[in-house]
């Protein structure tokens, strides 16, 4: 069958036939999409798309490359060709991965007999102790026999090496962290563990934990990833079902927006970036037994880790590397598509880029040292899956090429893509629409149109040098911990913003040149129009990116989670009944019965009392009133947590992290496929506004208006 397709798509039929066939296929795909046909129709629609893409590849390869004797055209032309072929290859790989993702696992397996003993590792380096306290409290609160689980803080910020650092300030900080954490751990009944040296970064830290513990299973949580109460019960059962299972991975759910979501204000309405990965790609990988370890929110089997001598540490992405090592030894993995932890992600653009640089560099190292395609232990589908995951991080190259390619023509008159206007319509345009439709078909509910391109573009500028440097010096990059708890208290341009403005201006000049060329060189206006449109598209991305690097000041750095819990609120000596409405990492909002505005004042210290989900006991949590608002028959009080005892963190964690189903609900609320056309219109609207906002920030940054005025934007 595939040979038939191959024969058909490589027929050198004429342009007219291609145009009609392309339009017909496009139409059918649209109909299938409009009908929202799933199941077998989804694959048929994808097969249609594949046929068109393959025709494009055939045509692109056979008839559009500039002649090789014109090196000035051929070299950039060939680079562009490679970039396009990379995109097609990635499309093919992702088609393979997500052609038929595993459906949700319906029921959690009930562990047979005795529950396995679990060591819970919380590796930390420099995270805030407050943050750690919540995570530790949430971990401790997990619904699991306490004699079967041990929580470990693996502290790399308080190692002997750090405490004896040459720089006195550093040494002092480490010493203080060591003593504070030790005390906190004691209070929360958590094992504190540190080591001599900071060797092998996170992997070394985890391996140190392995050495000092003995549980059958290991659960790993990042310092800012707090588990829900049912985390262990949802996951450990799978290890009973399959003796060769080494990993159960769960999604990372974030309570705060990433910089793009925050600055574009899309967090509440659009699925997050990582939802595409956890919502569909990991499910697709899971189909091929290739779901991999993502560093946190996962349970691993000690017996398996012992086979490879613990966590692998050649690359700076020890998680994926460990998974490859175990997969290639015949161990299996499972992905559980249910958010069971909630965490924080980088808030500022700079730390976001820092995190992505680490991923990209780590994946490049894996590509270099453990090339998945030739890894004999992996099955063929696993190799393709890992190839897809690692090669993805080469995207800065094609992105950069797509960005500058039109400029070659506009500025230097180089013809790097030889095709007429008609051919462009019949092949390229149809291919592009089909490509977008396929993406939408695959990821529609998880990724809106053009958002992938925007994410890739904003990362490209800084990831490209990072990827190139790791290619030149594969062993050089070192593990850098991503800061996730920063706050942007005032609106400003990101420190990484400058190149985005430069690129925007260059592209803008390109638009000017386009207009000039159309009028001054009417004989090639068709080509100029096509290239100009391409450049314009780039300009729209670049404009939108200006908004991404314009950091919005945010009073509420973390998202509020809706809850509904009875509580009592202390006013003076009196306890007033109320309901906790929503919770964030920093505070809560409470609805109190009756008009109590007179009795409440801002800055007032108080307590809230409620029954914990973990133990069913009542607990008192110190708070401070931040605002009071009168509503019909009720009073809404906004409060900040004021924990003064480590045990208070248990109460906070209980409020936020006790119930994982609320996170699922939140995610589902954001999901929804706006469709290609509506999504495109929406995106262009956002891009226009963000361009404006980027310039507004630039102007203010330059003119240096006073901060108060800043705040208001």
């Amino acid at each position: 069958m595939s040979i038939c397709v191959l024969l058909l798509v490589t027929l050198p039929v004429n342009l007219q036939t291609q145009l009609i066939a392309g339009a017909t296929v496009l139409f059918i795909m649209m109909v299938l999409k409009t009908l929202n046909a799933g199941g077998i129709w989804r694959l048929i629609a994808l097969a249609f798309g594949t046929a068109i893409v393959m025709r494009y590849v055939y045509w692109r390869t056979t008839s559009t490359l500039p002649p090789i004797n014109q090196l000035e055209n051929f070299i950039p032309g060939f680079l562009l060709y490679l970039a396009e072929m990379y995109s097609v290859m990635m499309l093919a790989l992702s088609l393979f991965v997500v052609a038929m993702p595993l459906p949700h696992r319906p029921e959690r397996p009930t562990p047979k007999g005795k529950l396995p003993s679990v060591d819970i590792f919380i590796p930390t380096y420099n995270e805030d102790i407050e943050l750690l306290a919540n995570t530790m409290a949430a971990a401790k609160a997990m619904d699991y026999p306490s004699d079967r689980m041990t929580v470990w803080i693996l502290d790399d910020g308080g190692t002997v090496q750090k405490r004896n650092a040459e720089k006195i300030v550093e040494a002092h900080t480490a010493e203080k962290r060591f003593s504070d954490l030790t005390a906190l751990c004691e209070a929360l009944d958590v094992r504190y563990l540190t080591r001599e040296k900071n060797a092998h970064a996170k992997a070394g830290n985890l391996n140190n934990g392995l050495e000092h513990s003995s549980g059958e299973l290991i659960a790993v949580f990042d310092a800012d990833h707090a588990p829900a109460r049912d985390f262990l019960l949802e996951t450990v059962g799978y290890f009973d079902e399959d003796e060769k299972l080494f990993l159960v991975q769960t999604p990372h759910f974030f309570l705060n927006p990433d910089p793009l979501e925050r600055n574009l204000r899309t967090f509440e309405q659009m699925p997050s970036e990582n939802e595409m990965f956890y919502g569909i790609i990991q499910r697709g990988l899971d189909k091929w037994n290739a779901a991999f370890f993502c560093g946190s929110a996962a349970v691993l089997r000690r017996e398996a880790l012992n086979v490879t001598g613990g966590f692998s540490g050649i690359s700076i992405t020890e998680d994926c590397e460990t998974a490859i090592a175990l997969h290639s030894r015949g161990w299996n993995s499972v992905y559980l598509d249910k958010p069971l932890i909630a965490g924080l992600q980088p808030a500022t653009f700079a730390s976001f880029i820092g995190q992505r640089s680490r991923w990209a560099q780590g994946m490049m190292q894996i590509l270099r040292f453990r090339f998945p395609l030739f890894n004999g232990g992996l099955s063929l589908p696993q190799r393709l899956c890992y190839l897809s995951s690692t090669l993805f991080w080469l995207f800065p190259f094609p992105r950069a090429i797509f960005l500058v390619a039109p400029l070659f023509y506009l500025f230097f008159g180089l013809e790097i893509f030889t095709a007429s206007g008609g051919e462009f319509l019949a092949y390229t345009l149809i291919y592009m629409i089909v490509n977008l439709m396929m993406q939408n078909y695959l990821y529609g509910a998880f990724r809106w149109p053009w958002i992938s391109e925007l994410y890739e573009y904003v990362q490209t500028i800084h990831l490209l040098p990072a990827v190139i440097s790791v290619m030149l010096n594969p062993r050089k990059p070192t593990f850098k911990v991503t800061a996730k708890d920063e706050r942007i208290d005032r609106s400003r341009l990101s420190e990484l913003a400058a190149p985005f403005f430069v690129i925007f201006f260059v592209l803008l000049v390109g638009v000017g040149v386009t207009v000039y060329r159309i009028y001054s060189e009417p004989y090639k206006a068709d080509v100029t129009l096509v290239v100009g449109a391409w450049n314009l598209l780039n300009l729209i991305f670049a404009g939108c990116a200006l908004g991404v690097v314009s950091e919005r000041g945010d009073k509420r750095p973390s998202r509020r989670v809706k809850v509904s819990r009875r509580c009592e609120f202390r006013i003076g000596e009196k306890w007033v009944p109320g309901t906790i409405d929503d919770v964030s990492v920093n505070g809560i909002r409470i609805q109190l019965l009756g008009n109590l505005t007179d009795e409440l004042s801002v800055e007032m210290a108080s307590d809230v009392r409620f029954k914990t989900a973990a133990t069913g006991e009542m607990g008192d949590l110190p708070i401070q009133v931040r605002n009071v608002r009168k509503q019909a028959g009720e009073t809404a009080v906004g409060c900040l947590f004021k924990p003064d005892d480590p045990s208070d963190h248990r109460l906070i964690a209980d409020l936020i992290f006790a119930n994982s189903s609320q996170w699922t609900k939140f995610q589902l609320d954001r999901r929804g496929n706006p469709g290609l056309i509506r999504g495109t219109i929406w995106f262009f609207g956002v891009a226009m506004f963000q361009t404006y906002r980027g310039f507004a920030y630039l102007v203010r940054q330059i003119t240096g208006r006073n901060k108060a005025e800043w705040e208001r934007t």
């Binding site: 798509v9 050198p12 004429n14 009609i20 066939a21 629609a45 249609f48 046929a51 038929m100």
Partner: protein, 779 residues
């Protein structure tokens, strides 16, 4: 013809003329000029704006020894550059005698004489290099050809013009430039009697042309009605045509001797000794031991007559075979070129597979050009089973350079058979060198046989926008085309289709490659039918490159499972033949009573009228919108709504308009394993007249489709395109060829491709879904 030049010429060959003068006073009964259409269309694409003045005079009294050299009835060079190269065969005797060349031309008023030249070179020796300066009247140049220039055998004549405008410098002005050479007053004259005589059979190739560029073989067959005579006379006609290989050949077969010997004509006597009883004794003289086929001198004309005789028809047939046999070529042996040099030199290479040819091999020389519009052409031959019109693209790897004077907006165009096939705009300033720069162009307009590829450079320059006086030809070279450029023929699909008159025109497909004699049906015979059949077979033999074996005893019934060529006026055509070739029976009524009506006067509402109505109603209502959309599709992508049918539909029986004077139709035979070709006309007279016209080079190359009709009144050729057809495999089955055949077929059947893509994709989707359900994990 009263110019002093002509007088001098007349004086030069006075002696020769004197002897033949009385004969020339009579009007030849075989001269068909009065019946010919009054005006032939010039083969050139660009007609000069003004007609020649004075208009062509009636043919001058023929002068023996005149050897007209231009193998066409008019020769016009238009634009800034013009070139024609062809070869003229000269006998040893002619080469040995001293020769004079006369050339008559006239040019348009706006040609600037000081910058314009007309050049004639023979075998690369420049004979004429004249400023073009005769806009008032035709001017005749007469030059003696230096001894040794003309050689026995083929001599390459290369005539070229370089014309510049008196005042204007823009590209548009170049279309006003023309120079016309008058073929009826352009000829060689040889001194001495020997030059008029032919000695060897090969000298037939020196038959030459008449004042209108035509060549005529007058077969004298006293026993024309004897069955034994039919095959030898037709065979001989074919052989003579293949041997002479002139572009516009006609054969007449008559029992009587022609009254006179005209230039470009040869008399051939064919028969037994008994048949020749009544002929002049001079023609009957026999030398003992002389071959049965040989030239004899004709004292009445001073020329020679080819005599093929024998004691009986058996011997005569053998004598004919002695001429035919050397021209035979094995069926399986492909030609590497089409023999065209008597009208286009060099011979056209025949591309039967992927290959490439340098411009130098194609006869295109390196050109340095300082004008506005450079045109240069070459020809490419493709076989009759060429099946790549719908999808194919050929490539020219151009080596060229243009100076900094050339402005963007200039362009290089490629035309195939005068249809635009590709445009390469020049988009950079400051000059450039193109090294093997590829220009791909569609092969849509390729047809079997020779195809004319025209390369045109249209140059807008800075200096032309200024247009300083006197910069005409002194301006520096601004464009160069190098002969190292290459033409690249890709691998193309090869399969014959039936019917396809274009194949017949190109290489006599499918008859040319059949190893069986071609059954020929001439029901009633007679001078005119035989002449028409002989002329047609001669043309087909030239196209095939070999004399075709024929079987003149065939009947419609005996050929139901064979190929057949049916020639005759409509009354002689059997109804079964009409039905089988897709012609309506009503053709008999249409053609029965309109013979004396003014041609084309009552053409009835034809396509033109329909178009007129459509134009009037364009844009009205949704039909108008649809028509507008159709037009847009057609203009932009060459798609018409008719391309959207899955099946071409059965061809309706066709009846021509009354104005049609010849109809050629082709279809499969009743058994479906051979091709019948019908050639018919209303009457015997119009049959011979129109076949003669239709077999001339420029018209023959327009033969196409399932049916072609020729209207002598308006000199128009119309075709009924091929609808239903069957494939005729010509190549051993191979994957690569099948793939390309499918590509071409699908390119012509757009919806079929879409449908196939949909079906295959759907199946792929289903198969993938099945596969995925069984592979990997399931929950």
């Amino acid at each position: 013809m009263g110019t002093h030049v002509m007088k001098r010429l007349l004086a030069t060959c006075f002696m020769t003329m004197l002897a033949t003068m009385p004969l020339h006073a009579q009007v030849s009964p075989f001269d068909m000029s009065p019946e010919r259409p009054a005006k032939e269309p010039a083969p050139q694409q660009e007609q000069p704006a003004a007609p020649l003045s004075p208009p062509k005079i009636a043919p001058a009294p023929p002068v023996t020894g005149k050897r007209f050299v231009i193998p066409q009835d008019s020769l016009s060079f238009s634009g800034e550059t013009g070139e024609k190269t062809w070869a003229v065969f000269i006998t040893e005797e002619q080469a040995a005698s001293s020769a004079t060349l006369s050339l008559t031309y006239q040019n348009s008023l706006i040609v600037a004489p000081e910058w314009s030249t007309l050049t004639l070179a023979i075998n690369n020796a420049r004979i004429i290099n004249e400023p073009v300066q005769s806009s008032e009247n035709a001017k005749t140049l007469t030059v003696d050809i230096p001894g040794g220039v003309l050689k026995a055998g083929l001599n390459v004549f290369k005539m070229s013009t370089s014309l510049r405008h008196r005042t204007d410098c823009d590209v548009q002005s170049t279309y006003e430039l023309w120079t016309e050479v008058d073929p009826s007053r352009t000829f060689l004259t040889f001194a001495g009697d020997a030059a008029q005589k032919f000695r060897k059979i090969d000298d037939i190739r020196a038959i030459g042309v008449d004042a209108q560029g035509r060549t005529t073989f007058n077969l004298v067959v006293p026993a024309i009605d004897r069955i034994a005579a039919t095959a030898p006379m037709l065979h001989l006609a074919e052989a003579l045509a293949v041997l002479a290989n002139m572009p516009n050949q006609a054969v007449t077969i008559s029992p009587a001797l022609p009254k006179e010997q005209l230039p470009g004509a040869l008399t051939i006597l064919l028969g037994t000794d008994e048949d020749f009883q009544g002929l002049p004794t001079a023609l009957l003289a026999s030398t003992p031991g002389a071959p049965a086929a040989a030239f004899v001198d004709d004292p009445a004309t001073g020329g020679s007559v080819l005599r093929v005789r024998g004691p009986d028809w058996q011997t005569v047939t053998t004598a004919v075979a002695s001429i035919v046999d050397p021209l035979k070529r094995e069926i399986g042996v492909p030609r590497s070129f089409l023999s065209t040099q008597t009208w286009r030199s060099p011979n056209v290479p025949l591309f039967t597979a992927a290959s490439r040819a340098r411009f130098s091999e194609l006869g295109v020389a390196t050109r340095n050009f300082n004008g506005r519009r450079l045109r240069t052409e070459f020809a490419i031959g493709v076989p009759s089973d060429f099946y790549a019109n719908e999808y194919g693209t050929a490539t020219v790897l151009i080596d060229a350079a243009y100076s900094e004077d050339v402005l963007p907006g200039s362009q290089l165009n490629i035309y195939v058979n005068d249809n635009i096939a590709a445009t390469l705009p020049i988009t950079t300033k400051g000059g450039a060198i193109l090294r093997h720069f590829p220009i791909s162009f569609t092969m849509r307009h390729f047809r079997p046989g020779a195809n004319l590829i025209t390369m045109e450079a249209v140059l807008n320059t800075r200096s032309d926008t200024v247009c300083a006086p006197g910069t005409g030809s002194t301006s520096p070279t601004r464009f160069a085309l190098f002969d190292t450029s290459e033409f690249i023929m890709p691998r193309f699909a090869r399969i014959g289709i039936m019917p396809n008159l274009a194949g017949l025109s190109g290489t006599s497909f499918p008859y040319g490659r059949s190893d069986k004699p071609l059954p020929l049906i001439i029901n009633n015979g007679g001078e005119k039918s035989y002449s028409a059949a002989a002329t047609l077979l001669a043309r087909m033999s030239v196209a095939a490159g070999r004399p075709l074996e024929i079987d003149p005893r065939a009947t419609a019934n005996s050929t139901v499972n064979k190929n057949a060529l049916i020639v005759g006026a409509i009354p002689q055509i059997e109804s079964t033949v009409l039905t089988q070739t897709g012609i309506a029976e009503s053709i008999r009524a249409v053609w029965s009573d309109v013979r004396d009506v003014e041609p084309a006067a009552d053409a009835g509402p034809g396509q033109d009228e329909f178009d007129l109505w459509r134009e009037r109603l364009a844009g009205r209502g949704w039909r108008g919108q649809l028509a507008f959309f159709d037009e847009w599709l057609n203009r932009t992508f060459n798609i018409s709504l008719t391309s959207f049918s899955f099946y071409p539909g059965a061809d309706e029986p066709y009846a021509p308009e009354p104005a049609a004077s010849l109809l050629m139709a082709q279809r499969a035979n009743p058994a479906g394993d051979g091709v019948w070709t019908l050639v018919t006309a209303p009457t015997d007279d119009s049959l011979i007249e129109s076949v003669t016209a239709m077999t001339q080079q420029d018209r023959w190359s327009k033969l196409d489709g399932h049916i072609s009709i020729y209207k002598s009144g308006t000199d128009e050729i119309q075709e009924v395109p091929v609808g239903e057809f069957t494939f005729v495999p010509t190549q051993p089955i191979s994957f690569a060829n099948m793939r390309l055949i499918v590509a071409n077929w699908l390119s012509g059947n757009i919806l079929s491709f879409s449908l196939l893509l949909i079906i295959v994709s759907t199946l792929l989707g289903i198969a993938t879904s099945r596969l995925l359900s069984n592979l990997g994990r399931r929950v």
